[in-house]
């Protein structure tokens, strides 16, 4: 009799514990599925644990027309490789690139929280390559500026859209073919950076404000091997690099693509490419090249806000004397 009671009590306890565990796991899963921050973090690391092959379609507005191209991508869980493009209307030549997926990079810990700028929300996403998804919207000043669509099964990012301040689409990157577990294709590894860099303190006349433009926060500053100063910014979702060189801009040396515009009285050569925007201008004897995956309206804020130091009266005099002799 006593044995039976013990067995019953034990069974009830196990059942209660099992129920508690299942409830907790389900709640955690539900919370994770509804938490935009968790979805973004998972999307950033999804490719680390999911070997796959696929094709990415890129559409972007270059200011004159919407362009489109496709890139083959693959991941073995360690490296992501892209290349072997099949046509498109991009107008730019295609190379190949292979990089390690994000790891314990010191920069990652310095990245600002997207919540500091954006209002994040989650809703059901579209079906992409036959997979159900969840979309994370990032709104800034009431307008959705970024949309990340993640695969519900793997957490991998399958579509990313960027919008400008009017809500118009600036760029869309979509995974149009997707196969999990397939061996990655082998492509030539391209150099990630043509120039070596080292961390540096930014001194005058170069500018490195802690925050820049639409709430971009400085993450790091570097000096390239040719003396160019790079200040790297992020708003939690988008990245921005500001390259600064002392001197007078040789406008004739710039690539002939893109267009010349005026921003707050400053002459700017603007390029809109598949990866984002590149803007070049000169102020106070400093040539600035800004590279970002952000939209043109936010690049314009960078032009307005970045102010390299004007040469002092003493520097003017020294320069005048130097030119004189």
């Amino acid at each position: 009799m006593i044995r039976r009671r013990v067995r019953v009590a034990l069974g009830v306890s196990i059942a209660m514990f099992g129920g508690f565990v299942m409830t907790t796991v389900a709640a955690a899963a539900r919370m994770r599925a509804d938490d935009p921050q968790a979805l973004i973090e998972r999307a950033r690391r999804g490719v680390q644990t999911q070997p796959f092959t696929g094709t990415v379609e890129i559409e972007w507005n270059d200011g004159a027309a919407v362009r489109q191209t496709r890139v083959a991508v693959a991941s073995d869980g360690v490296r992501v490789t892209a290349g072997s493009v099949s046509g498109g209307t991009g107008g730019y030549s295609n190379g190949s690139l292979s990089v390690s997926v994000p790891g314990a990079d010191a920069l990652a810990s310095a990245m600002p929280n997207p919540n500091a700028k954006y209002e994040l929300s989650v809703h059901a996403g579209p079906t992409i390559v036959g997979r159900s998804t969840t979309a994370v919207d990032a709104a800034y000043r009431g307008v959705v500026r970024e949309r990340w669509v993640v695969d519900n099964a793997t957490g991998a990012l399958v579509q990313r859209e960027a919008f400008d301040s009017s809500g118009s689409l600036a760029r869309r990157v979509t995974l149009v073919e997707f196969a999990i577990g397939s061996p990655p294709t082998t492509t030539t590894t391209a150099a990630q950076a043509a120039m070596s860099v080292r961390a540096a303190q930014v001194a005058k006349p170069f500018a490195a404000p802690a925050t820049l433009g639409a709430r971009y926060r400085e993450v790091g500053a570097y000096v390239l091997s040719d003396g160019t100063v790079q200040v790297f910014y992020s708003d939690g979702l988008r990245d921005l690099s500001v390259f600064q060189q002392r001197g007078d801009l040789d406008w004739g040396s710039l690539p002939t693509e893109g267009s010349v515009i005026s921003v707050a009285g400053t002459k700017v050569h603007e390029y809109r490419t598949a990866s984002g925007s590149m803007w070049v201008w000169e102020r106070n004897g400093v040539v600035v090249t800004a590279v970002s995956d952000t939209t043109p309206d936010e690049m314009a804020m960078v032009v307005r806000d970045l102010k390299p130091a004007a040469p002092s009266s003493w520097e003017r005099f020294r320069s005048w004397v130097r030119d004189l002799f």
Binding site: L97, G103, R316, R318
Partner: protein, 167 residues
């Protein structure tokens, strides 16, 4: 005798000092570089004046001067009590005023130049490597951002056409 007086040195050079004054001046010249310097300046000025060519005044000038003095004496006899006040100009003071004026003018010129001059120009025009900068940025961005779309877009090279052909 402790004051540095150019007139005393001028009298010394002209041999117009008393023996005591002459001894005192020479004793001071031995120990005081300022006095030596002042003596050199007075000597140079004296030699310069003496080096000027002699010019004969026009005929009748001295008579005109004598008449003018007589008339001035007659007119001013009651007005100023007839006292004649010698005007002695100090070479040292003139030199100081001249130097100070030149210094002020120089400073004013420099200040004007500093504010009027345009910003300094660089020795070399800058030709930013736009495509290379894009690669540097992408390499840093993919190390912290979601790699899938970043790698895909970064694999596409940026603008490369120039007026002189591909870079």
């Amino acid at each position: 005798m402790t004051e540095l007086n150019p007139d005393v040195l001028s009298a010394y050079l002209d041999g117009e000092c008393t023996p005591d004054e002459r001894v005192a001046i020479e004793a001071r010249l031995v120990i005081d570089p300022a006095w030596q310097s002042e003596l050199d300046e007075v000597r140079m000025a004296r030699d310069a004046v003496r080096g000027l060519p002699l010019v004969d005044v026009p005929e009748g000038t001295w008579d005109a001067v004598a008449r003018a003095i007589t008339a001035a004496d007659a007119a001013g006899a009651g007005a100023a009590g007839g006292a004649v006040v010698p005007m002695r100009s100090s070479k040292r003071a003139k030199w100081l005023y001249g130097t100070a004026g030149a210094a002020v003018a120089s400073v004013a010129a420099v200040v004007a130049l500093v504010f009027v001059l345009p910003a300094p120009s660089s020795d070399q025009p800058v030709q930013p490597a736009v495509a290379a900068f894009a690669g540097v940025h992408d390499a840093r961005a993919v190390s912290i951002d979601e790699p899938l779309t970043r790698v895909a877009t970064a694999s596409l090279t940026g603008p490369t056409r120039t007026a002189n052909g591909p870079r």
